[in-house]
Amino acid sequence: MMAMLSHTHRSDSRKLQMKLNLIAFAAMAGLLVIAPFAIYPLLVVQILCFALFACAFNLLMGFTGLLSFGHAMFYGWSAYIAGHVSKEYGATPELALLFGMATGAMLGLIVGALAIKRQGIYLAMITLAFAQMMFFLAVQMHAITGGEDGLQGIPRNRLFGLIDIDSTGRVYWFALGVFLLAFLAMWRIKRSPFGENLKAIRENEPRAISLGCNTARYKLAAFVLSAAFSGLAGSLKAISLQLATLTDVGWQISGEVILMTLVGGVGTIFGPVIGAVVVVGLEQMLLGFDDWIPVIYGSVFVLCVLFFRKGILGQIQHVFQKD
C-alpha cells in the first residue's frame, strides 16, 4: 500500500514538473518569435548563440560538476572552421554547422581525455592552458583563421542548397530553429538515463564508482557533448553574423560563458538562457562605459557568487521549493 501511494506521489510531482517545464519552454519560444519585431534581430541572434553556448557549458558544469575555463576554444575554433568551409568551399549552412560541431567534438575528445583525470581548479587550469594554446594557434594559422583580421564577410549559403537565408529576417528564423532544436536535444540528454548518471557523478563520484559506474567514460562523454554543442553555437554565430575573430577564441569568452551560466542558474535547464539575456543585455546597456565594462562585469560576478549562488532561476526555484 505504502509503495503504491508513494509511487503515485512520485509520478504526480514528476508530471507537474514536466508540465511547468513545457509551459516555460512554450513561453520562451513565444518570446523568441516576437522578439525580432521589438529588438534588432541580429542582436537577438547574438543572444541565441551565447544562450546555446551557455547551455552547452552547463551540460558540463551544471550537470556533471566539471569546471572548464577553456570553452572558448571549442566555440571559437568551430566558428573558424564553419566560416572557412563556407567561404572557401561554399559549404551549405547545415554542413558548416556539422563541420563546426565535429571540430568541437574532436577538440573536446582530445582535451577531455587529458583534462578529466583532474578535478576542480586543476581541471580549470588544464583547460585554460589548452585554450591559450589554441588561441595562439589561431593567431598563427592565418590561412584558416585570417589571423588578427579574422574571417569577415562569411557567406550565408543556401540552406540544403535550396533555401535562401541571406537576409536579416531569414537568418533569424534559421538561428532560432537551430537554437530550439539544440536546446531540446540538451534537455533530452539531461532527462535521459545518461543524464541521471551524470547527476550522481556530480553529487558523489567515489560512490558512483563503487556502484559500478565507469565515471571516467561518462565524464569524457559529457565533455565531448558539451564541446560539440559549444561548437554548434560558435558555427551558428559565424554563419549568422558572418564573422569569426580572435575574440571568439579568447579567454574572456570562456569567462563570459561561466558568468552567464552562474547568473542564470547553474544546473537548471533555462538558467543559462536567462544568463545570456542578462549578460548580453548588460553589455548593450554599458556600451558607453568603454574601459569600465570589465570592472562592472567583475562586480556582477562577485555579487552573484556572494549573494546569488544559485543564480536567478536557481534562487526562484529555491524559494518555491521552500514554500
Partner: protein
C-alpha cells in the same frame, strides 16, 4: 598485499581470506591500515605488490567500477549517498548500473521507473520505507548509513565491504544498523571494518586484527580477544 605511499609502508604483506557466506571483521587501532586494505581490495588504490583474487579470478588490475559490477561492492567511512537525490533515486542508480545499458543519451529517464518498485522493496528492507521520496540529505546520520546499505544491496553483491558502518552512531542506531547488516548478510559474504567491538562480537564469524599495516592475528572473536598481542596493540605495554 603491500602498499606504500612514498617511503611509508601502509600495508605490508597482509594476507586476508574471506570465506564464502561469512561475516569477517577487520579490526585494529587507528592507522593500522584497515581502510587502505579496503581501498586495495575494491581497487580504489593500486597495490604496490601482491594479488587480489575474487571468486577464483585475479582482479588485481581490474578497474574499481568493474570489480563492483563483478560483485565486490563497498561502502565508505563517511556515509556515501547522493544527497540531492531522493532515497528511491539513490537505490535506483545502483539498479540502473546493473540493468540498463550504459551511455543511453536519448532514451527517456521515465524508462528508469521500472526499477522503482524494486528500489522501494530494498528501501523497505532496511526500514526506510516512510522516507522514500525525501532528499537523502535530510535523513539523520544513522538512516543515511541504512540507505547506503540498501544501495549496496541493489548491486546484489557477492561480497559486501562495510567501512565502519556504526561509526558516529548513538546506541539505538547501532542496534538498528546491526540488525540491518545481519539481514543483508544472508546468502553473501561481508568484510567489515569496525571499531565497536560489541558489534564485532555480535556479528562476526571471523576476525582479523591489523596493527601497523600487518596482520597481528586472526580467529574467532573469543580467540583474538584473549590474545595478549591484541591487548598490547590497543592499550600499549604496561611500563
Amino acid at each position: 598485499m603491500c602498499k606504500s605511499f612514498g617511503g611509508f609502508q601502509a600495508v605490508e604483506g597482509v594476507n586476508l581470506h574471506v570465506a564464502q557466506g561469512t561475516i569477517h571483521a577487520m579490526v585494529g587501532p587507528n592507522g593500522a591500515g584497515k581502510t587502505t586494505c579496503f581501498n586495495l581490495i575494491t581497487r580504489f588504490l593500486d597495490v604496490s605488490k601482491g594479488q587480489i583474487i575474487f571468486d577464483g579470478k585475479d582482479v588485481t588490475k581490474r578497474g574499481a567500477s568493474h570489480v563492483a559490477k563483478d560483485g565486490l561492492v563497498r561502502s565508505f567511512q563517511i556515509s556515501a549517498i547522493f544527497p540531492d537525490m531522493t532515497l528511491i533515486e539513490n537505490v535506483r542508480f545502483a539498479l540502473q548500473q546493473r540493468r540498463m545499458p550504459a551511455m543511453n543519451f536519448w532514451g527517456s529517464a521515465a524508462r528508469l521507473s521500472v526499477l522503482e518498485d524494486e528500489a522501494m522493496q530494498l528501501i523497505e528492507h532496511v526500514g526506510l520505507g516512510a522516507y522514500a521520496n525525501q532528499r537523502a540529505a535530510t535523513l539523520p546520520y544513522g538512516r543515511k548509513r541504512a540507505l547506503e546499505i540498501a544501495t549496496t544491496l541493489a548491486m546484489e553483491p557477492k561480497v559486501m565491504l562495510l567501512d565502519e558502518p556504526t561509526a558516529g552512531m548513538g546506541h539505538e542506531d547501532i542496534e538498528r544498523i546491526t540488525e540491518v547488516i545481519r539481514k543483508a548478510a544472508v546468502g553473501r559474504s561481508v568484510l567489515m571494518v569496525e571499531h565497536n567491538l560489541r558489534v564485532v562480537s555480535e556479528l562476526s564469524d571471523r576476525v582479523t586484527v591489523l596493527a601497523r599495516g600487518q596482520v597481528l592475528t586472526e580467529g574467532s572473536y573469543a580467540e583474538v580477544a584473549d590474545d595478549p598481542r591484541v591487548k598490547e596493540a590497543y592499550l600499549g605495554t604496561a611500563a
